[in-house]
């Protein structure tokens, strides 16, 4: 059903001067999905996510969030979306709490208690009054996640949300994702280069390699026929090898890295 599609990416192409970029990426995220966008560093995951959240524009293609075009109808498109791209920089001269208050002010009707709720949710309640510049890397990442959560979004676009976190922090974020998906039916579009992390929490996976979406489907669909002991890791390695072999047999062309 079309009404269930919260993120609709069609034919996205973007090339940078260094010839990196993405080529013809098409994918859909449905309500309730935890969609894992997987690929090695430099595959183009962040580019897709930046385009999906309106930070950069594609050369070709379109992005619709809840049916709204992200370029033409930005405010309604983003009103139900929370975003964290890369490290999610905070204003270091402001306290963690003040950073969240700035974000919350841009969502009319949000209860005043929401900032406290998200501080609690990411485990920063005790440090809310400290300046963000004094936070550790892990605390900054938690603050950035709190910033993405503050509006109670229906869709969360999270780019490498466990970067900079220690093992305990990674587990907490994983549990937070599961909890929000279960209790609030929050939909996730999240990227990572950590395959085990993806395997543990995602129900759908898209594999990006050198700017192209090479495979997409539910975990079951992807691993079907790969044998009982197969994992996403072995599946991924097989797919990458197959792609490389296919590329070696193709005539020289413009390559997207």
């Amino acid at each position: 059903m079309n009404g269930d599609i919260v993120l609709d990416i069609q034919g996205l192409t973007k090339s940078y001067r260094n010839r990196r970029g993405i080529e013809n990426v098409t994918l859909q995220v449905r309500r309730g999905d935890i969609y894992g966008f997987f690929g090695p560093n430099g595959a183009g995951k962040t580019t897709v996510m930046k385009i999906a959240s309106g930070l950069i524009r594609a050369d070709r293609g379109s992005v619709r969030l809840f049916g709204y075009d992200v370029n033409e109808q930005y405010e309604p498109a983003m009103s139900r979306v929370g975003v964290l791209i890369e490290k999610g920089e905070a204003f270091e001269y402001l306290s963690g709490r003040r950073n969240l208050e700035l974000a919350a002010r841009l969502y009319p009707g949000l209860p005043k208690t929401r900032v406290d709720e998200v501080l609690e949710l990411v485990g920063l309640s005790k440090h809310g009054k400290e300046k963000a510049g004094h936070y550790s890397l892990g605390m900054k990442m938690r603050l950035a996640i709190a910033g993405a959560l503050v509006s109670k979004p229906e869709l969360l676009i999270l780019d490498e949300p466990t970067n900079g976190l220690d093992i305990e922090g990674m587990v907490e974020i994983r549990e937070l994702v599961r909890k929000l998906a279960r209790e609030e039916r929050t939909t996730f579009f999240l990227s990572s280069h950590l395959i085990s992390e993806m395997e543990m929490i995602c129900n759908r996976i898209g594999i990006l390699h050198e700017g192209k979406l090479i495979r997409e489907g539910s975990m079951g669909e992807l691993l079907q026929g790969s044998g009982p002991s197969s994992s996403l890791e072995t599946y991924f390695i097989e797919q990458i090898r197959a792609e490389r072999e296919a590329a070696d047999h193709e005539p020289a062309n413009v390559r997207y890295h």
Partner: protein
Amino acid sequence: MSLLMSATINEWVKLRARKKTVFFLALIAVLPFLGLMAVQRLQNGVGIAAFSGADYPIAFLGGLTLFVLPLLIFLSASDMFAGELGDRTIRSVLVRPVNRYKIFASKLLAIFGVTALGLLLGWISSTAASLFMDAPDGRWGGVAESALAYAAAAVPMFALGTVSAFLSLGFRNASGALAVSILVYAAAKLVAFAFPQIAAFLPTAYTDWHQLWIGGAVSFGKIAAIFSFLLGCGIVFYTSGSYLFEKKEV
């Protein structure tokens, strides 16, 4: 509350939290009293009255609009545009459901706000300092006139704010944007000094247009012409800046 208003409050909160802003505003509040001490020393030493109490706020406004406020405007614009683009904090603003033209407008409104606050503080402080000076021709007529001059001085400062925002968008670090803004401003002042015929076409040449609002004979024709020019400059740089901001990839 509209999104533009909320975004403006956010920009204001950020501006107010910066130590540089607080320092400059404190400097504006203190400078008239430091100036007063210098004037009194000169008066006692040489025996010449440099200013009467009624003229002092206007004399202070000259220095305020030539040096202090432009510097405060350049600092604020550099931090809010080039600085946020450079350290990528701008992303945390741009991913919210607020159109970019509103974000751009909110940043400029905050810069206008701090400029207006600087002028208000300067007027209050210089007027308070002038109470310690002699005013042989009466004091209170001068107070009304200086209030008008301080209000009028906001116009060229706002135009300067749009120019500075436009320039800052070409950089990804605040110090670079600040240095270039200061250099361009100084160059424009020098060009106007060396080639007075060009001065009429530079918005920087009208930082002292408040002078037109004081004295017995106010030339409304000249005021209208300069106002139109400054408004035109403001509109051109505002729309160009807004366009550039809309297209920025971050």
